[in-house]
């Protein structure tokens, strides 16, 4: 007897299916609310090699749904912690931790090492990046996402370009502000638990041919009433419009911009945004004492050089607006913070404090 006996005695599954799982590698993008349950079940099921990519650190507010982690993991990298926990449970599978965020520069190199990609990320720029890279690399993609009390699961790109991909469904991306994520509007931990587990189930079914998978279909689920709704997806001629078709086109994409997250804004927009959006903050990235001071708008002061160490001060905000003297340091600051917080809306205010006093005063 081995630890997989209960699944290979299952009629219709059998030792051959177990063998397939053993020989397969799966990359889990994001060790978050979806990634944690998916990882638990895929490792338990005996997937031969599992990669976990996540540049984020475990924080207290993650613990209601990111069930791999506990208090002792706070502040640790999610991919490394998750890999350690899983490797300790099972020594018969290979687990690779990739402790940084996916970018258009690194994604193709990473996904080429895996047979199947599972997207448990939490923002639109990453979702489009993963979709496009999977198309270029010819990798099947198990997709799952949640919104408040609802979830959606699908398998994209199962058989190459003739299969459905995310852009067939949504050729024009929603702006990130149009659809808030769970950091902003909250979620009961069991919902990503259910959806992440369904994603794991779809991986196993797809890899072994057990049952009918969600290939080219999307399944919607509502936790409040247990309604589910399955839609047959269709190719969309608009889907190729702005899709990068190869490595160099991918490098030219700006996924933040594509998803309406431009890196610059003006004072008028910034001030109205601060007034109307929850969880927003304005940050002065100049050195202490630089003049003129902004004295009539509430803000934080974090000099550029201190930004890498200011994670705890900024982590609770979803919208971060940055200004400096003339708008060039704050642009640098956007880049620095984007690498720490890829799912946040981070913008530099054009023209800086000079423009503020010049135009508005």
């Amino acid at each position: 007897m081995d630890r997989f006996e209960r699944q290979y005695i299952l009629p219709g599954f059998g030792p051959a299916s177990q063998q397939k799982l053993r020989k397969t590698s799966v990359l889990i993008i994001g060790a978050g609310g979806l990634g944690c349950p998916a990882l638990l079940y895929l490792s338990a099921a005996g997937i031969g090699k599992i990669g976990i990519i996540d540049g984020d650190l475990v924080s207290l507010s993650n613990l209601n749904r990111q069930v791999l982690f506990g208090k002792e993991d706070l502040g640790k990298n999610k991919a490394e912690s998750a890999a350690e926990i899983i490797q300790k449970k099972y020594d018969d599978i290979e687990v690779e931790a990739i402790p940084y965020f996916l970018t258009k520069e690194n994604i193709l190199g990473i996904i080429q090492n895996y047979d199947l990609i599972l997207d448990g990320s939490d923002n639109f720029p990453t979702r489009y990046l993963v979709n496009d890279a999977c198309l270029i690399a010819g990798k099947p993609l198990v997709f799952g996402a949640i919104y408040q009390h609802e979830g959606q699961v699908a398998i994209f790109n199962a058989k190459g370009p003739h299969s459905i991909n995310y852009r067939d469904l949504y050729p024009i991306p929603p702006s990130a502000r149009e659809v808030p994520n769970c950091n902003e509007i909250g979620v009961l931990g069991v919902l990503p638990g259910i959806i992440g587990t369904w994603m794991a189930a779809e991986c196993i079914k797809y890899l072994t041919g057990y049952g009918d998978s969600l290939e080219d279909k999307m399944l919607f689920y509502d936790l409040l009433n247990h309604n589910s709704y399955q839609v047959q997806l269709a190719k969309n001629q608009d889907s190729n419009q702005s899709r990068p078709k190869n490595h160099s086109e991918l490098q030219e994409m700006d996924y933040q911009d594509f998803c309406g997250l431009s890196t610059q804004t003006d004072w008028e927009a910034a001030l109205s945004f601060l007034k109307n959006a929850n969880q927003s903050v304005l940050v002065d990235v100049r050195e202490h004492g630089e003049q003129p001071e902004l004295d009539d708008v509430e803000h934080l002061q974090i000099p550029l050089a201190d930004l890498p160490n200011s994670r705890s001060q900024l982590a609770s905000f979803q919208n971060i607006l940055l200004f400096c003297q003339s708008g060039s340091r704050s642009l640098k600051a956007v880049d620095m913070l984007k690498s720490q917080f890829p799912d946040k809306n981070i913008q530099s205010v054009e023209g800086g404090i000079i423009r503020y006093f010049g135009d508005l005063k």
């Binding site: 639109f124 949640i146 659809v179 919607f220 709704y229 839609v231 047959q232 190719k235 001629q237 608009d238």
Partner: protein
């Protein structure tokens, strides 16, 4: 016809399922909904008729079930 709404679209309409008069095609239906619920104008969504995704302007047969499917990003 029956209209099903998911995610933020259901929030805006106030219900997940409503019975409405028949509309000849999806463009006219969406135009009507945007007029009734102006917040819908800012949203991207895909449409399914009788559980099949449709693209472009598609005619709607009497008594069909039309679902408005917004993207989710959370994880």
């Amino acid at each position: 016809m029956k209209l099903l709404a998911f995610g933020k679209i259901a929030e805006i309409i106030g219900k997940q399922e409503i019975e409405i008069e028949n509309f000849p095609n999806t463009d006219i239906l969406v135009g009507y909904l945007q007029q009734q619920y102006p917040a819908l104008k800012d949203l991207k969504f895909s449409i399914a008729i009788d559980k099949k995704q449709v693209n472009g302007n598609v005619s709607i047969t009497t008594g069909a079930e039309v679902a408005l499917l917004p993207p989710f990003s959370g994880g």
